[in-house]
Assembly symmetry: C2
């Protein structure tokens, strides 16, 4: 484990927006795959709640801003080449807009 700063995350490599894996701290279920830019990461660190960047709407959003299903972030990790993030969240509220805890509910194989 290496400690790094938010400024060391390589957003530029992927045009300013990188993928974020969100994982439940207790169950370790993978909840969703979303995206963040530098500002979303900085607001997440500052507020302690999961903020993202919507690639379809072209704007920042906080999970739960409409639904109330806010996701407090316990820890943020970056991968070996610093162009993907992992938010570990402390909540039992739905992450998916369908009302399920996880967005990964379609079986391909």
């Amino acid at each position: 484990m290496k400690v790094m700063k938010a400024g060391d995350v390589d957003f530029a490599k992927r045009g300013g927006v990188i993928p974020v894996v969100v994982q439940d701290r207790q169950t370790k279920d993978v909840l969703t795959l979303v995206y963040a830019n530098k500002e979303a990461l900085e607001i997440t660190i500052k507020t302690g709640n999961a903020w993202f960047y919507s690639t379809s709407r072209g704007k920042l959003w906080m999970k739960g801003e409409e639904s109330g299903n806010v996701q407090p972030v316990h820890e943020i990790l970056a991968d070996c080449d610093s162009d993907a993030l992992l938010y570990i969240v402390d909540s039992d509220r739905p992450m998916c807009h369908t009302g399920e805890r996880t967005c990964f509910h379609n079986i391909v194989k």
Copy 2:
């Protein structure tokens, strides 16, 4: 849970290449964030080993083709809007090119 076909995955939405979260079946650790196109998904389903698409090299690759750290895929899930995948793998061999099991070994917060 809904069963879907490989052909139902929405690669087109993101230009033919979508993110893949890889998770350890036993520990539930998130191991890496990589990418796949339709062909990589089809070969993964056919062979049972994790295949991806390298966005930097512009080619298909099998994890372990050089290192020997092949990652057998137990299950493949897609998210609610079918533009991200989750490979659940059965292995205790390193996923990261650094030799660590997981690529997420940098602490941002």
